[in-house]
Amino acid sequence: MFDPIVPNTDPNAQVHFTFDGESIYTAPNTSVAAALLAAGHTWFRQMPVSGRQRGPFCMMGTCFDCLVEIDGITVQACVTTVTEGLNVTRVPQMHLQEGKFK
């Protein structure tokens, strides 16, 4: 669990965004990953095939375990800065329908 050394209580210095519909406030210039961790989220995505949950691992843009969806595009939460009104969602699960191939 991660929390700030100094809680950000100044309402004028906060940016608002949503994650799967949930309202989250964070300090300016915060990455989506840091903001979500601070908000208590531990898993960000599910593995496309196994469905297992994953959260941020490297925080430097190399591991791709913090993938989230913004405007229909999968992006790394750790290299994406929160902007006012940003709509972040979890990447939809695969629903591979192999049965329909037959």
Binding site: P48, V49, D71, G72, I73, T74, P92, Q93, M94, H95, L96, Q97, E98, K100, F101, K102
Partner: protein
């Protein structure tokens, strides 16, 4: 009687598996990890549509193989446990340029004529196509559809064949190249890069581009050249594409595979930005929603092309017991190579007539 197979790609392993099923002893000699390997870079189609225009025997050979594929895949799965993810529910070719669509229809009609009418295909306009695949974009004028087309996971095929050959008692030497092959009193001797020598009564040369150097040592002209193809694959997406096309297919893991370019660049297998950008634009023209999909990997691989683009099946006239096999459709033809080709290699009565694919056709 040991047959040494030079080349452990899909072609060599398919033949090895087939020979093993006929009770032959087989040793497969595979090269190094970094060699040019069409078996790792191909698109993964089991494809019939449009093949063999101008040579109906090739069309029939491809269709015969496609027809054998389902039982071939099942047999490999039963033996090795690997599901090859074969899907043969027909394939589309999409067209955004009217003249190209007309050409394709003319080609398919010619194939139907050459096949005495036994050649099924459909032509769909954008509206009809959209009913089948709602994601289709407005730039697509139409498509042709052939019910015999399909696709498979070609890497699973490679893995399953490696396993099947070993389970049937075949031996595979990996990681070292064959640098020489010569006739001996008892058959043939191959020399490996690591200095090892191996002997066998017969030899099959299925070394892809490696045959350019090794072919003449066995009396083959091996008039083949590399042709570069670039491909790419996207991140895994929810399933929307239930039929492959010559340029777009959704692989069993969910990624959209996009291919393939053609370029004559010699032994150059590095991908370049402009080529893959062109592939991306084609994909978006057909399925506009893919503009937001991420490309995860791209690669370049080398096709093994003969002057007329057709396979070469040739027994050596100067080195009896040596056979040369090459093609650029090793996936589509894998079933035929495993099920039908061994009889031809061993000159059995049941051998298919492959004389049209003789190397002599390139003599001028």
């Amino acid at each position: 009687m040991t047959t040494m197979i030079i080349g452990g790609g899909v072609v060599g392993l398919s033949v090895a598996y087939g020979l093993l099923k006929q009770g032959q002893d087989v040793v497969v000699l595979d090269g190094a990890d970094g060699d040019f390997r069409a078996s790792r870079g191909n698109f993964g189609l089991v494809w019939v549509q449009g093949k063999g225009a101008g040579c109906v025997e090739y069309s029939l050979w491809s269709r015969r193989s496609a027809g054998l594929w389902a039982s071939f895949a099942q047999e490999l799965q039963d033996l090795t446990g690997f599901d090859l993810k074969l899907v043969q529910t027909g394939g589309f070719e999409y067209f955004t340029i009217a003249a190209e669509l007309e050409n394709q229809v003319a080609k398919l009609l010619a194939l139907r004529n050459a096949s005495n009418g036994d050649y099924t295909f459909e032509v769909l306009d954008n509206v009809a196509l959209k009913k089948q695949i709602p994601e289709i974009g407005p730039k697509v004028l139409g498509a042709t559809y052939c019910p015999e087309d399909g696709h498979v996971n070609p890497l699973f095929l490679l893995k399953a064949l490696s396993s099947a050959v070993q389970k049937k008692g075949g031996v595979i030497h990996t990681g070292t190249k064959v640098i020489d092959v010569t006739s001996t009193d008892a058959g043939f001797m191959v020399v490996l890069e690591n200095g090892k020598q191996l002997n066998g009564e017969k030899v099959v040369l299925s070394a892809g581009l490696g045959a350019i150097d090794l072919g003449p040592k066995l009396g083959f002209r091996a008039p083949i050249r590399p042709q570069q193809g670039q491909l790419m694959v996207t991140e895994k997406l929810p399933t929307f594409l239930y039929h492959p096309s010559g340029t777009l297919r959704q692989v069993n893991e969910g990624g959209i595979q996009i291919g393939a370019s053609k370029a004559e660049l010699g032994l150059h297998d590095v991908e370049d930005v402009l080529t893959i950008a062109g592939l991306a634009r084609h994909a978006i023209d057909v399925f506009p929603h893919l503009a937001k999909a991420k490309m995860v990997r791209s690669w370049a691989a080398l096709r093994i092309m003969s002057p007329d683009g057709l396979p070469i099946y040739q027994h050596s006239t100067t080195h009896p017991g040596a056979t040369f096999i090459t093609c650029h459709s090793g996936i589509t033809l894998a079933a035929a190579h495993a099920e039908l080709l061994p009889d031809w290699i061993m000159n059995n009565n049941a051998a298919p007539d492959l004389s049209v694919f003789n190397e002599g056709r390139f003599d001028v």
